[in-house]
Symmetry: C2
Subunit: 493 residues, 2 copies
């Protein structure tokens, strides 16, 4: 370390506000041009592995470079390696359907760049988060007194919820841990075989191990079967194991099936098991009044995760975790060190001063509420419902076309806006052959550039999967996909 | 559910690109005006608990509202509740020093809004992340072959690192968990009493419990004491416990003390313990060539976390986790479901196709690399070093002023740019009285509005704490703080 200097040394600081203004307007134009030109790009990137790594310098520059150069590299080097999630023909996975309003919210968040770890580190960041989570709960028809906060992803939200479930056992896992405790051997979490992999990952992270996760066979419509759940619980109890929580899904990853929440909740109440609902994608259906039934029974759960960054037009990342008893989250996570003790801690009641870092893993928390606020206000409850309703309509259209066209087969019900299907040419009945055939079809469609679909395996059968949820997607885009599928199938027939 | 519609229904879609362009230019001006006016605002918000909750409507609007209304509410209702982390007088905690370039990067990320969960879901997002992590490793002098990826916060990075350490025990925790396994009773993580609370939180989350976390007394300069570590390990081994990992800190939260990495690393090597280095804040010092020594010995660690969102001018959130053996992260976290299997999985070698969702808790991953790329390119390695060097200079100046002014006392060495001190009027020697006096001083300074400082407790003594790290902070701001402290102390003397 050098000796102390004789006086403070001047810092070059940041760009002047005027220079920032100039550069930011350039960036606005870049983004607007990008979005206007989305349809002209192939949805799925055609980049080869390592291409960008090879194209970039081996080191950061020693001296600063001009924004123009960086934007030019973004165009020339980065964009060819982008799979365009905002493209109207993005039908893979569940899209993260970022909207214009959401992007503006993110920009404001970065411009303010405050940390919502403690109430006092930006009271408005914490309070806005609590308020928008309540607004959203109303739109979804969830209990008005549930407590919501925002995490990055559903994987984190589910981890946090199951950590609270672990604490709710009343066996002081927070102090004593799990290791070596015979009374905790055989701690188990239950979900259907259609549940998201993040549930099993949470069980592993929390120290239950994969053997602490029991995957139950789903019914023929890919829903959790309450009878199978009862039976598994009985078996496990008889074997001396300790059921801890059940995860039910509203909108499973493969087919958007909806687990029977009322029946599952009744079982959980009866056996005093924590019920966590994963409505990360499917919760969005409930903003449409006539589809609100998808969350029937959710009010009996202990926790529920819904991701506005999936089908509610909010950019990544924004995952809302609701809990009926926030004290259990805090009991699982609060470890307040001295330097973060603040005078407001005493008044943590209602929606007032509350330190959200105590409710999960992350201490630093960016102001994610702002973008959700912009989305809810810019489109309004009815505007959001109109868009989700339109997506469901497009999926129903595709479902009908598939159902009435010879050679095509639906592989699951379509309760939301995701369609699982395959091409099944007459006489081709070997499953391996059907999979090869449909993989070729998928590759042909994805290479064409106008659409990007993904796949699923349902009941052992390989399914093509088109999920409709992009804010820019229009009926013509779904018709385009259907035409491409027809062409690809025709070429291969 | 209603019956299927007769045809696809048109969606209102999003704003047109031209309307987005118009609104985004308004947002640019709002942010530029906000930043230009930062000095005129009080750093610490004067809002009262519940103020914003009461001011906002109880529900989201049914119909969309105009951006102008939203920005006006942002000004009128939200800004008074913001504690301005970007204010040049923000000296509390460790600031998240967001820069202009970083904010532009965030805006681009939201405009693209791609998910870097799999290589193919945007090859450039994954590859840019791997490349900027390498660039950063070079700037910090870390081993060139270390593998880096970006998480949200250091809390998550440390959780992930310790999950890998748990897996590295070779006892198949991933499959079997911890519960009820006698051979895992007494699993322990070690750190000094100055370590960040996230280490203990990770131990709780991972199922080790608080008793699985051993906090070791630090030395008189608040550094981990290798002799105390050896002794604790010997004791615990003799008691049949199972040491798992040691966390050493470069830049502790209270005083930015630097644990002796070479000695700690030698102990970990000898005993085959995982060494995780928490350089979340302090790593930034290493971008200054003459301060690179702060990371001496880090290359012997198994993992290291550094947060560009703290002192490297990148907006929240951006935490880089480096590991020497990425296969252990993947072993701890990879659970690849069928729907995410992709043809590129076979080629996961080098910096080519790699699925980053397999390296941590979160499956969805926004393109955080873009803002770090913009920061590294816009300021360059030398530009970053100049800014950090200037902050260190300002802290040394404050340290010297405190040291030579009667009535003031330094409470810890100043190895970085954070100064811990107190006002100690002659004759006031009761610790409780000194704490009351300095709490009043802190409140007076923070209420004045030009600066925001926080506190720490060091060796049982209450310390005021000024941490210098904001990109806009200039010597005059530190002089201003020093004047305010003098005024406040004079008034109370």
């Amino acid at each position: 370390m050098p000796e102390g200097l004789t006086g403070p040394s001047r810092s070059p600081g940041d760009l002047s506000p005027e220079e920032f203004r100039r550069q930011a307007h350039l960036v606005v134009d870049w983004i607007a041009d990008y979005q206007a030109g989305l349809r002209q790009r192939p949805v799925l990137s055609r980049a080869r592995p390592g291409e960008l790594v090879a194209a970039l310098p081996a080191s950061a520059p020693a001296r600063g470079e001009a924004l123009g150069e960086i934007l030019s590299d973004l165009d020339r080097l980065v964009l060819p390696g982008i799979t365009h999630w905002g493209h109207p023909g993005f039908f893979a996975y569940f899209t993260s359907s970022g909207s214009a309003a959401g992007a503006l919210g993110e920009f404001l968040t970065a411009g303010l760049n405050v940390n919502a770890m403690l109430w006092r580190t930006s009271p408005a960041a914490t309070e806005l988060e609590l308020v928008v989570c309540r607004w959203l709960a109303q739109l979804l028809g969830l209990p008005p007194d549930w407590d919501g906060h925002i995490n990055d992803t559903a994987s984190s939200s589910t981890l946090v919820a199951l950590a609270a479930a672990r604490e709710a056992l009343g066996l002081d896992v927070r102090e004593l841990g799990l290791a070596g405790r015979a009374e905790l051997a055989g701690l188990r979490v239950y979900a259907s075989d259609q549940a998201h992999s993040s549930v099993e990952k949470a069980a592993v992270t929390l120290g239950l191990g994969r053997r602490g996760y029991r995957s139950l066979p789903s019914d023929r419509d890919y829903r959790l079967d309450p009878a199978a759940l009862r039976q598994a619980l009985d078996q496990d109890l008889a074997a001396g194991l300790t059921p801890m929580a059940v995860v039910a899904t509203v909108g499973t990853t493969a087919s958007t099936s909806i687990d029977p929440l009322p029946e599952v909740a009744a079982i959980c109440r009866e056996r005093r098991l924590w019920l966590h609902v994963d409505a990360a994608h499917g919760g969005a259906m409930a903003v449409v009044p006539e589809y609100r039934g998808v969350l029937e029974g959710a009010g009996l759960a202990d926790s529920l995760v819904f991701n506005p960054h999936k089908w509610l037009f909010t950019p990544l990342d924004c995952s809302v975790l609701y809990v009926a008893r926030p004290d259990l989250l805090r009991r699982a996570f609060s470890l307040v060190p001295e330097y973060l003790s603040t005078p407001e801690r005493e008044r943590e009641t209602g929606l007032g001063a509350r330190n959200l870092m105590d409710f999960g893993v992350s201490l630093g928390r960016r102001m994610r509420a702002l973008k959700l606020w912009l989305v809810l206000r810019s489109y309004g409850g009815e505007g959001l419902a109109e868009r989700v309703r339109a997506h469901v309509g497009m999926a129903r259209w595709l479902e009908r076309e598939l159902g009435r066209t010879p050679g095509w087969e639906l592989l699951a019900p379509v309760p939301m806006a995701t369609v699982c299907f395959r091409h099944h040419p007459q006489g081709m009945d070997d499953e391996a052959e059907l999979e090869r055939h449909n993989r070729q079809l998928m590759a042909a469609v994805n290479q064409e550039g106008g659409s990007f679909i993904s796949h699923a395996v349902l009941g052992g059968r390989f399914a093509l999967r088109a999920s409709i949820g992009g804010i820019r997607t229009q009926p013509g885009d779904v018709e385009g996909l259907w035409r491409q599928l027809g062409t690809a199938a025709g070429e291969r027939a």
